[in-house]
Symmetry: C2
Subunit: 543 residues, 2 copies
């Protein structure tokens, strides 16, 4: 671990002040005054490349044990859908020639989820290129009563993206074209299968950014992001997809193409139908195209990575940030010491700051370098001076910013390497956010390898994860319904951003009243009367 | 009119630069260097007080001619709802004692819309205080097949807020309590009948602002704002209500209370049901309470009011603004010379800058006075220096800011004083925004008193208004479907923010495909099978 360097105020404060001119501000510095290149060196090998794009070749997948079939692990019964026949395959082949995949090895990757906790046994994967093809496929499936599982990047964390039984997998992988981009307004129209990271690159070349960003960006599709109403790392600044998405094209269960693909910031011509599909996890329709508003690319981005002595200080640092950084604050993420241990151990990433009980990552994005530097400088001076923060490091160039972000973004990956992961993604009042972690550590004792807390603190969103050597019903019994009851007791949400999928259906009632669950079911019946779209998912299980 | 003063650069530039320290920056200045107090004096009498709260006593209402009954002016047939009986009144009286209004004079104000173009003949106005009372009322109306028109502040501009025939008026006027406010997160929970301006005051005292603002703020209710998905003056910065509203409580047609009133920034537990009701104009349920995220109150607010020589310059000034003001830009509004003539003539407001073909109002909101001043100063210097702007004035103190805003906010009011108003509220690609106005002026010639264009340029939202001495079918024939076809030709929206109400039902097809209209109808049938909520409104008319 990094040796503790007592903060040497004068040394730190002086160059900081001087750094308020653009030229002097591009150097990444630690606050004790020394640039810790060896640490950056260690980080460097992985930064800037999303771990997920390379996942196929990672050691995890090849060495990992076979994943148990979902229908064997969970008490779930197949619904009376038809089974895919040779004739069906021939029909699909006519609709999308050479894009009907039945090779078992190719199917394997699409039958198992990212967390490797679910496995379906689908016999066919379809890869349409256009919404007309999707429409044609769904019309046929609807007539034939064939169940369909839409799949984007397959990075979902609640088992929504893979079949439970033999549902047809409808992949958006080849629907990856940008349709248009308006340079003045920043409105992007693209197909649903575009990979988030590629869209980011595309719009950044045009001086804009995507309004969302997440650790899975190298694999996840924009359609999957919308289907899950993904939150992610820019939520604090740019808000929910319900606000930034301007239009959608959706193919309904019976093949009807619903074109709500407007590129207007305002359109109050009747009900805002697109909203229904944002967050509906593929159960109400297949999103085929998206129109989304991209914010201008900030001229100056700074990331500070800070060590905090306690959770109270994490909260106070957040309030201070909001007050002193105002409109340029673009992210406020936290992680605990155990998270840092995990990324160090499994991914060989090292902490750029001294060991601390908590770490926070503060990002600013603004339009004027020297103004942002001044704001950040005042904030950091205050935070360090008042003891809210004990150590920290600042990055202003892209490479180093990516390295700092990797520490936070790759926690999910480090966790999967630690063993079986029990994942909870909850919203809580911010001042109670960490209590549940402390509480669970005491409750679980040595049953768990690790109990960690991290997440989007600025949004009141805790990622609570428990790892163990293997899946254990008794550990699960100690976790659930305890975690959900605790959350409901705080009027929190039992799924802040990851959605419901297959895994959280039974717990919806902790966050939604019966009237809401009934209305969800009614909407499902209205839009997908035969229930062929992503069955066994998202809708509440019958009590 | 103000005498044209040639810009005296050195005089202007010098104090401007000097003004970049906080102390020096609080003075409102015109760019020719002189403070034009006489103009402010003239404005002063009206600024800061919303025109709408005083409307009851305004000369318009008392002198205005009787408004023609809607069912006489328009070819609309009463649907077979029951008629309110004495027994019904007695039941209502039991549910909400002393809050069942049948006095014709009191009813008058609720039967006629703000524009005075629609009149219903409802015989009863109900004023519940709680959602339980609303639930009780709707359950009864549902059983009895009585039609209900929910009414907020009755400022809607599309005839949605008043009955068409004898629908019961359900007013939210007494549902005006704040339920809670979280000081750290800025989350406000309140009843639907709270007046926007009062909420603004409430949260501003706590160092936050409402994420929306509109000219009707003195009268409109937050429930009405949500029901119409109001856009308004802060949309550019804080985005749509679909993003800022966190939760809703809604009473459905049959009296079911749907409680989605969470106060969490993130909640992906199933479909986001609240979204259905935002913008549904009272046709799917009655919104009874709201949870909404308020942004922190900016430390520094500046408003510049500028004269532009042409529409091309209005657009270029906007691009320059976005680039140079970045994250602190909070509004960009424009109005044409005829708008200025109307506010001068009817409301005795005078232009604070020299006569120009176009005016723009630029607002910045930021967290650090001197940084904002510097950004604004660079921008204005550039805009004036490059001829984008020919004259301008800047306000930094609240009183003067309100006066400048009044020029823009009170255009709607000035128009109603000018005669019969044909109103169009459309979204268009920003570079074609004003072409329609020019085009119509030529097309209508002397038939129209005024053809004016103004609006939220930053959102691509044009308010196009035509005034005439009185309603004329032949003028209407020249306007419609021409305006809608023109808009559809640009793939615009025929109702950007005002909604559909009674007046725009027949034109929905210009902006929405048949599949979308069908789904709207299906949702209506699902949620309000007897169609008792706001009948004759919002849903597409049968082709
Ligand atoms: C390392 C890592 C970090 C993550 N970080 C975040 C985070 O910060 N915030 C967050 O919210 N999530 C996060 N996630 C979860 C996940 O990445 C998101 O849910 C993502 O939006 C899923 O996109 P996808 O394309 O991979 O969808 P998939 O996983 O393929 O599918 C997810 C669900 O959406 C449906 N779906 C996919 N595409 C469509 C479509 N076109 N039409 C209809 N339905 C569709 C699927 O049926 C399924 O139910 C993370 C995941 C990982 C592995
Ligand atoms: C001077 C002026 C300026 C304006 N500026 C703007 C602007 O900038 N942007 C903009 O978008 N609009 C603007 N408007 C239009 C209008 O103010 C908005 O539509 C406003 O949101 C309506 O609120 P209200 O409370 O007056 O609703 P009302 O007019 O009473 O009702 C409007 C519709 O909503 C329904 N409704 C009302 N309350 C509820 C409820 N609690 N539950 C369910 N349904 C309900 C009604 O049935 C009706 O269909 C302006 C109007 C005026 C007069």
């Amino acid at each position: 671990m990094v040796r503790r360097l007592a903060p040497r105020w004068p040394v730190w404060l002086f160059p900081w002040r001087a750094a308020c001119t653009p030229g002097a501000f591009v150097q990444q510095r630690t606050w004790a005054g020394a640039t810790r290149t060896p640490l950056w060196g260690r980080l460097h090998g992985v930064a800037g490349v999303s771990p997920l794009v390379r996942r196929g070749s990672s050691s995890t997948s090849s060495q990992a044990p076979e994943v148990v079939l979902t229908c064997e692990r969970y008490p779930v019964r197949r619904l009376p859908f038809s089974t895919v026949s040779e004739e069906d395959l021939a029909t699909f082949e006519r609709i999308i020639p050479s894009r009907v995949i039945t090779d078992p090895e190719e199917l394997e990757a699409s039958n198992v989820d990212w967390l490797r906790t679910m496995r379906g046994c689908s016999k066919v994967l379809l890869k349409p290129r256009t919404s007309e093809e999707v429409s044609h496929i769904l019309r046929y499936c609807h007539e034939r009563n064939l169940a369909v599982n839409t799949q984007g990047g397959n990075t979902g964390l609640v088992g929504g993206s893979v079949p439970v039984f033999d549902e047809i997998i409808l992949s958006t992988a080849l629907m990856n074209q940008v349709v248009s981009f308006q340079d003045i307004s920043g409105i992007l129209v693209c197909q649903a299968g575009c990979i988030l990271e590629e869209l980011s690159r595309y719009v950044e070349e045009r001086d804009f950014i995507m309004p969302l960003d997440l650790g899975a960006k190298g694999s996840c599709h924009i359609g999957g992001n919308l289907a899950t109403n993904a939150g992610g790392l820019r939520f604090l600044r740019y808000g929910s997809l319900h606000g930034t998405v301007l239009g959608l094209e959706v193919v309904l269960a019976d093949g009807t193409v619903l074109n709500c693909l407007t590129s207007l910031r305002k359109d109050n011509t009747g009900y805002d139908l697109k909203q229904l599909f944002i967050g509906s996890e593929g159960t109400l329709g297949v999103i085929t195209a998206v129109s989304i508003l991209c914010p201008p690319k900030p001229r100056a981005v700074n990331v500070a990575f800070l060590g905090c002595p306690g959770f109270a200080e994490v909260l106070q640092t957040f309030s201070t940030c909001k007050r002193m950084l105002g409109e340029i604050l673009s992210a406020y993420e936290f992680m605990d010491a155990e998270c840092m241990q995990l990324v160090r151990h499994h991914l060989h990433l090292a902490s750029p700051v001294q060991e601390s009980p908590f770490y926070v990552l503060v990002e600013t994005s603004g339009s004027r370098v020297e103004h942002d530097a001044e704001k950040l400088s005042s904030f950091l001076e205050h935070a360090l001076g008042s003891g809210l923060v004990t150590d920290g490091t600042l990055a202003t160039d892209q490479g180093k910013i990516k390295m700092l972000w990797a520490l936070r973004e790759r926690i999910t990956e480090a966790l999967t390497r630690d063993g079986y992961v029990y994942k909870y993604d909850i919203s809580l009042p911010v001042d109670r956010l960490y209590d549940l972690v402390t509480d669970l550590r005491a409750r679980l004792g040595s049953q768990a390898k690790h109990v960690v807390g991290y997440g989007h603190l600025g949004d009141g969103n805790l990622h609570l994860n428990v790892t163990a050597e293997a899946f254990s019903p008794s550990l699960l019994g100690d976790l659930e319904p305890y975690v959900y009851e605790w959350t409901a007791g705080q009027r929190g949400s039992v799924s802040a951003e990851h959605g419901v999928g297959f895994k959280k259906q039974s717990v919806l009632g902790y966050s939604k009243p019966p009237e809401a669950l009934r209305l969800m079911q009614q909407l499902k019946t209205l839009l997908d009367p035969k229930g062929i779209l992503n069955p066994y998912k998202t809708l509440p299980t019958q009590a």
